[in-house]
């Protein structure tokens, strides 16, 4: 069985309608996301200079960075709206990276901080 048959696509059916789960957002949404990213970056840098947050600095920075990463991937790269197959490929790559990090740092003695 081909992937197309598995997905219920009939022979001769155009590819385009299957391509998207939803329409891409418009410029207004993109600018809102851009402003959010700018604010998060400002918070990241501000947090870096607050001595009182020294003990929780690493988790805060990682959460903020993950938030920025997700916003760009979901909205600007359209993974939120496009085919799940693209997400599968990309998340697969990220899972392999996470495994690589754990294996390298655990076996060779590196650390995040």
């Amino acid at each position: 069985m081909t992937l197309a048959e598995f997905r219920g696509i009939k022979p001769g059916q155009a590819a385009a309608p299957v391509h998207r789960r939803g329409a891409h957002p418009g410029p207004a949404e993109y600018i809102k996301i851009g402003l959010t990213l700018a604010v998060i970056t400002a918070v990241e840098v501000a947090v870096y200079y607050v001595d009182a947050l020294e003990d929780v600095l690493v988790p805060i920075l990682i959460v903020l960075s993950a938030l920025k990463f997700s916003l760009v991937v979901m909205w600007f790269m359209h993974l939120k709206f496009d085919s799940r197959l693209f997400s599968t490929f990309f998340v697969g790559g990220l899972i392999l990276v996470a495994a690589l990090f754990v294996i390298v740092l655990a076996t060779l003695g590196g650390a995040l901080v």
Binding site: L37, V58, I62, M77, F86, F101, L108, L112
Partner: protein
């Protein structure tokens, strides 16, 4: 120039876009390996200079902000071509390329400053892993700028129409990927220090 009509594919998806996502997945591993090597070796140098002696966080924050904003202009270029706005496409493509050039220039300045402070590719383990990681990222940004300028020239000559928006979308995917890699590098390399 003749363009072949969209072909029916096994997955129901455009193969060029599928290939780009596969390429980006492989790039995750490429940069993941370089970042892991940096984290492993950055505090194992026996001679200086060390990261805390060199990093200029305000300067790098501005660079990070510039690259982040270039992602916004890139997606606005895509939105423009998808609605057939050629003028908007040219403006946003050029702005994105300009911001990319600004980022690479900042990186070249940073590398020069670090070199002046005594850090080179062979000074210590920090220097080796830092320059290889950020150098490869800078090379990716440079390639992205060249792609954007090529698209800009195509748009100027009227060879980038609404029907060919996929070219801009693929360039955008590459550009946003370069941006998210910098989001990770900015946090793990610059902000979180041992």
């Amino acid at each position: 120039m003749q363009h072949s009509p969209a072909l029916e594919t096994n997955t129901g998806l455009d193969n060029r876009k599928l290939l780009m996502w596969l390429f980006l997945a492989s790039e995750c591993l490429f940069f993941g390996s370089l970042i892991a090597a940096y984290l492993l070796y950055r505090d194992k140098s026996v001679t200086g200079p060390y990261p805390e002696d060199l990093f200029d966080i305000p300067f790098t924050s501005v660079s990070a902000f510039i690259l982040l904003m270039s992602s916004v202009t890139m997606v606005l270029a895509l939105a423009a071509i998808q609605r057939g706005d050629q003028h908007g496409l040219r403006i946003w493509l050029f702005t994105t390329a300009f911001l990319g050039i600004l980022f690479v220039s900042g990186q070249a300045f940073e590398f020069t400053e670090f070199n002046r402070e005594g850090l080179s590719l062979s000074t210590n383990l920090f220097g080796t892993t830092f320059f290889v990681l950020t150098g490869f990222h800078g090379a990716h940004v440079t390639v992205g700028v060249l792609i954007l300028l090529s698209l800009f020239v195509m748009a100027q000559r009227g060879r980038l129409t609404q029907a060919e928006s996929l070219h801009v979308e693929l360039a955008g995917l590459y550009w946003h990927f370069v941006d998210i890699v910098w989001i990770v590098i900015f946090t793990l390399v610059y902000l979180i220090q041992p």
